[in-house]
Symmetry: C3
Subunit: 263 residues, 3 copies
């Protein structure tokens, strides 16, 4: 199975052409769209989507994540294996968040020796699709490129929250269709699931620590351990982004009232 993340959008024929090229190389391939609506050139958002989606797909899945402002430049194209999954991406920091945490990583440089044959502008169709097709057909990463030291991969493009005692300085990783604001506080921070907190930046709001949207009062603002591996600011049946005036990448300061939970 091949899972796709791109910033190609859905109005242009690019995603369809990439799929056609995959299926030309691997006629039986099963292709699943994660999303193609990454903000154009937003490598960090793509990195968040990839990391948040890995666990939903079975082992053996090949992820091709193509958000590539440097197409045509000297940046490498890399293939990485971790915990039974294969990740293909430009080496621009997109993979950073997905490679955090436990699990051995093997990395390979899959940059084509020459792109004379390939279009110089559409590597999704002309480079990533054939690579994904070969891997789906059973080729090994090691036979497609040179092994490289994973520590040479570009540093991760996704931010990480910092905390001092009960104060968290975090950033908005993603705002979803419902206005929920995903923060860069990972689930394993294990914040309390009840009690109060204050949002002190960008403005002051009382918030609730809650288990899910429904356990918030109607219209109340909550901090919830969401489904994407990170904490989220949410408003029950409303848009947290609108209520709190938050945009992608904004800095957020939170002060929890109680003790941090112990693992």
């Amino acid at each position: 199975m091949i899972a796709l993340i791109t910033d190609f959008g859905l109005a242009d024929p690019y995603v369809g052409q990439m799929k056609g090229a995959i299926l030309a190389g691997a006629p039986g391939a099963l292709i699943v769209d994660i999303t193609h609506m990454v903000e154009p050139h937003n490598v960090a958002q793509a990195g968040f989507f990839l990391a948040a989606s890995l666990g939903s797909f079975p082992k053996g899945t090949i992820f091709a994540a193509v958000v590539d402002p440097g197409v045509g430049s000297e940046r490498r194209i890399v293939g990485v294996s971790k915990r039974g999954r294969i990740l293909l991406a430009p080496d621009n920091g997109l993979l950073g968040l997905a490679l955090r945490g436990p699990g051995a990583v093997e990395a390979f440089d899959l940059t084509p020796a020459s792109d004379a044959a390939a279009s110089a502008t559409f590597h999704g169709r002309d480079v990533f699709a054939p690579l994904a097709a070969l891997l789906d057909s059973g080729e090994e990463l090691a036979s497609l490129g040179q092994g490289i030291d994973p520590s040479t991969l570009a540093p991760g493009a996704v931010s990480e929250a910092k905390n001092t005692g009960n104060t968290w300085l975090a950033h908005v990783l993603h705002i979803d269709r419902f206005g929920d604001c995903v923060l860069d506080i990972a689930s394993d921070a294990r914040l309390p699931v009840s009690g109060g907190a204050m949002l002190t930046r960008p403005a002051s709001f009382v918030i609730e620590l809650a288990r899910n949207y429904e356990s918030l009062g109607y219209g109340r603002i909550g901090l919830i351990c969401g489904s994407q591996g990170f904490y989220e600011l949410a408003v029950n049946q409303g848009s947290a982004a609108e209520v709190l005036g938050l945009a992608l990448g904004d800095e957020v300061e939170l002060i929890l009232a109680g003790e941090p939970a112990r693992p």
Copy 2:
């Protein structure tokens, strides 16, 4: 085959994660998107899309319709079989329109005994996807939950037009990409296919009863027995919603000039 209707949108990775979870449980499943652009939390619109789409899919299809403002609350998750198709949805009225009309209905309560293992916020991926995968793999509804009396299902969320003689009081069920306004007058009302009519609310317009868009004069307003099982207000190569100033849910009054057609 599994057909999906959700309000998850296409910009977030939610639909892809739900598909990954289905395919993790049912590796050979064929998944078809009906739409993921239901207005957030609009249960009635999802109910219309589901009812309008049932007949286009072959028997044996499993429909998973997840528009669920009450996720995390006490509402049930139900599975229903009717005319060889299986429908999965939260028990919030979404199924009402699909279950109208002839055909025996069997209903089952599929609410998980405990959602400790499941994320508390993303039932599409964590509850509906595994259920759909089990059903696609051949499990019976009866083996996944307790039979329930279909009359205990939440009342349908979709409105129904009322008529007195030649006057119809109807509502806008849906406005499509072309501006066509689907009304809650079902096709089996068998209105005349030619002749005149007046729209008297929200404002006065002369309209034509017509067989299709093309048989309307250019820019003329028509009432057409559309492709979705309901009558539609349409403008040939224009937007009826714009011309008539209609929005989703609006009330509409129509007076037909002739006799209602006899079945």
Copy 3:
């Protein structure tokens, strides 16, 4: 494999219903979306998408392109074979660009004898889907309709640039998500890949002839032989449409500084 291009959008259930109808007729069919976001009724844009996508799909692919302002009128529905691919479309000029260039063409009139059984308004689901399913199941075009002279097909809806010496009068065929403006100057014009040029209409801009986006200076405007078989105006990490004030269909005049490249 069946590849789809429509103007049905992704918010309505139309694409899903069309796929359901295909799969009801051809249970094992593999369906790939090229795009469903063609501007409503924009036959020329659909024709460009189709022509630009043909080469990305393997031989044997069936393309169904449904942008059909004349649905319900007397226009024919045609099936065409060229270079091992089958194209289904209304006979409204959509196929013109795809049929330019070398390769023998066979054409067939597939208009249903009577559409009494079919909905009068949704030919995508009720006419094109069953045709695509039959073709995917191995039926021949010749067994589904009468052969017709390809020269009787409606003239192509897509414009063609004209050049006199180093001056090109072209049109904007498409503006993509990144703001790149595809012109109707085909790749085989073989313009120089370096050197300068002037855009003289709609306004005066110095532009660069370049091999790809990255080889342009940051924010510089370039003319690039793009991935879609045509030249594009592009701005490295910016929107050419915005910088140049271009919209779909706009006329553009270019004067190249050097000699045209020789084939």
